[in-house]
Symmetry: C2
Subunit: 220 residues, 2 copies
C-alpha cells in the first residue's frame, strides 16, 4: 500500500516541524511547498488542513498557515496531562500485565541501560519511546494508547532536550527500575507514584527546561 502524496506531505511536514527544521512562526507557503514536493497546491493544501487539525500548525483564514509550537506555559500544561495519562496507563498495566509483557519491558530497560552507559542519547530516546509505547499497549485501553502516543510524539523534541540535561538519563533509568519492580509486584500505586515523578517536569530543575526551550524557540 503506497500512501497518498497528500498524506506523505503531511507526515513529512510533521517530521520537519518536530525535528525543528521548520521553527515556530514559520509560514508554510503553499506555492513554495508545492514546488518543494513537486506537486500542485491541492495536495499541499490538504496536508496543511490536517496539520492544523492536529495542532502542529495554525491556519488563519486568507492569511496562511503557520507553524505553532506550544508556548512555555502550554508546554507545562501538556506535560501535566501527559503525566496523568502515563499514570493511568501504568495503573491499568500493573493489573493486566502478563509475565511476557514484563519480560519485554525488562529487555527494553536493559537496552536503555546500555545506551546510558554508552552515553548514546539518540538510542536512549528511541528505546525509551518503545518502552513507554509498550506500557500504553499493556494498559489494554487502545484509545488511551493512541492518545498517549500522540501526546508523546508531540512532546518529543522537548523531551529529547530534557534528556540532554546532565545526569537526567541516569535519573530516568533509576525511575524505570523502580517502575518495573513495582509492575512485577503488581504494585499499581507504587508504579503510579514513580511514574508521576518520572514524567512531571517539576522534578527537573525548571531553569534547565526553560533554557532548552529558548534554544529551540530562538531560531525562527
Amino acid at each position: 500500500m503506497d500512501r497518498l502524496p497528500s498524506v506523505k506531505i503531511r507526515d513529512s511536514l510533521e517530521q520537519r516541524i518536530v525535528e525543528g527544521e521548520l521553527g515556530n512562526g514559520k509560514r508554510l507557503d503553499e506555492t513554495e511547498l508545492s514546488r518543494f514536493y513537486g506537486v500542485s497546491r491541492t495536495p499541499v493544501r490538504e496536508a496543511l488542513q490536517r496539520l492544523a487539525e492536529s495542532g502542529l500548525a495554525e491556519h488563519l483564514p486568507r492569511r496562511g498557515t503557520f507553524v505553532r509550537s506550544p508556548s512555555l506555559s502550554q508546554l507545562v500544561e501538556m506535560f501535566e496531562v501527559m503525566a496523568e495519562l502515563e499514570c493511568m496507563a501504568i495503573r491499568l498495566a500493573a493489573r493486566r500485565a502478563t509475565a511476557n509483557d514484563i519480560d519485554a519491558l525488562e529487555k527494553d530497560n536493559e537496552t536503555c541501560r546500555a545506551a546510558v552507559a554508552a552515553n548514546d542519547t539518540k538510542k536512549y530516546y528511541e528505546v525509551n519511546a518503545r518502552l513507554h509505547g509498550r506500557i500504553y499497549q499493556m494498559s489494554g485501553n487502545s484509545f488511551l494508547a493512541s492518545e498517549a502516543r500522540r501526546l508523546h510524539d508531540r512532546l518529543r523534541p522537548f523531551r529529547r532536550l530534557q534528556l540532554r540535561v546532565r545526569g537526567r538519563m541516569e535519573e530516568s533509568m533509576a525511575e524505570h527500575d523502580i517502575i518495573l519492580a513495582a509492575l512485577r509486584d503488581g504494585d499499581a500505586n507504587g508504579a503510579m507514584e514513580t511514574m508521576k515523578k518520572h514524567i512531571t517536569i517539576v522534578g527537573v530543575r525548571f531553569n534547565d527546561l526553560v533554557s532548552s526551550f529558548n534554544r529551540i524557540m530562538g531560531d525562527e
Copy 2:
C-alpha cells in the same frame, strides 16, 4: 469574522454525524456533498480531510471517506479516559476555584435541577455540558480543558443516550450535588471520587473485562 466554507462544512458534517443523521459506515460522497452544500468538491474534500484527522471518519485511499462511530469496546475505553481527565480537572479545580467560580457552578446546577423536574433532556444536556466545561476552565490547565472538551463533544451522542436511561438524570443530579459540595469545602479527593463514579458508565469491573477480552482476542 465569517468562517470559511470548508470549515463550515466540516462543522456541519461533524454535527450531522454526532446527531446521528449520518450513521456509522455511511459513505461521504464528495460529489453528493458538494451538491448538498452548493459548492465544488475542493472545500468538501478539505472538510473530509479534517474530519478524518479528528477521528470521526475514516479515509480509505481511492475508496472514499466513511463515518466511523466507535465500537462498544472503544466507547468504553473512551469513557474510561474521559473519567480520568474529568478527575484531573476536578482535582485541579478544587485547589484553584474562587467563590465566583463556585457560584457560577451552583447556578448551572440549579438550572439542571429545573430541567430534571421538567424532564427536559435536551435542556439538561445543554446546561450539563456548560457545567462540565466550566470545571475544565477552572482547572487552570487550558490544554487539559481543550482535550477534555474534545472528548466530551465526541462522546456527546452516547452520553445523551445514557441520560435517557430511567432515573439516570436524577442520579446524575445527586452526583453533581456531592461534587459541588466537595468543591466548596476544597475537598479534592471527595470531588474526584464522585466524579469518577459520575463519568464511568458501567463500572471498572466491566471495563477490565472488555479490555482483557480484546487483548486475548487480538482485536486492536
